[in-house]
Symmetry: C2
Subunit: 107 residues, 2 copies
Amino acid sequence: MGITKTQIFDKKQNELAQFFKILGHPARIAILQHISTQNSCICNDLVEEIGLAQATISQHLKELKSIGLLKGEIEGKSMCYCIDIDRWKELQKLLNGFFNTTKENCC
Amino acid sequence: MGITKTQIFDKKQNELAQFFKILGHPARIAILQHISTQNSCICNDLVEEIGLAQATISQHLKELKSIGLLKGEIEGKSMCYCIDIDRWKELQKLLNGFFNTTKENCC
DNA sequence: TTTTATTATCGTAATATTGCGATATATAAA
DNA sequence: TTTATATATCGCAATATTACGATAATAAAA
């Protein structure tokens, strides 16, 4: 127990859930919001901006990268993290698909 | 540690994350999808349909109720769980708001 | 080359989540 | 009232997540 029974759900359900799950942390929401307000690429402004340790921010960035929402490029000795707008729109579409196909039923 | 530092984020960020988090489990996705395909109210068809123990399903239903996505009505000796369509649309809007205000920045 | 700055990864502690059996609760049926 | 059925809650075990310090890795600067 304690482990999610991934195998009893289909691929789409697991993918959708995984996507929601990764967005389901305030630090990751804050990271995405902060990155999107910057004109230029940002890196570890996030550590100061958000107030979590560098290791923690790095971990959250890794998770956002894992679903493709962020892409990182080496920029000198620091990293430039950016929103991948194509993936972003793709995920928004996926998510709206879920919302639009799930409908009122009764009551 | 291990605890999310809720206090360093604002109310909207925490709410949005909480909403995403609750949708971030395949069983809860499956529950919502199944309920929406039923013409009439369903109850513990879910236990058979989804393949998790009754106690587990009940717990997931509770979480979906906590963000207002489901409402439950007593129907004889069983429970009728339904999607709250107003709340549903409200959350979809909230979520799209997040997606639309977070934009491409660089790269 | 040495130093400095930035980011990633490892290891670990604290807490949260998932899942289930057992049990409590409530209502319908007998 | 007794029995059967449906759901909620409790308590626990297993696993996952969150957070961070320490350290490794990398690249610019001195």
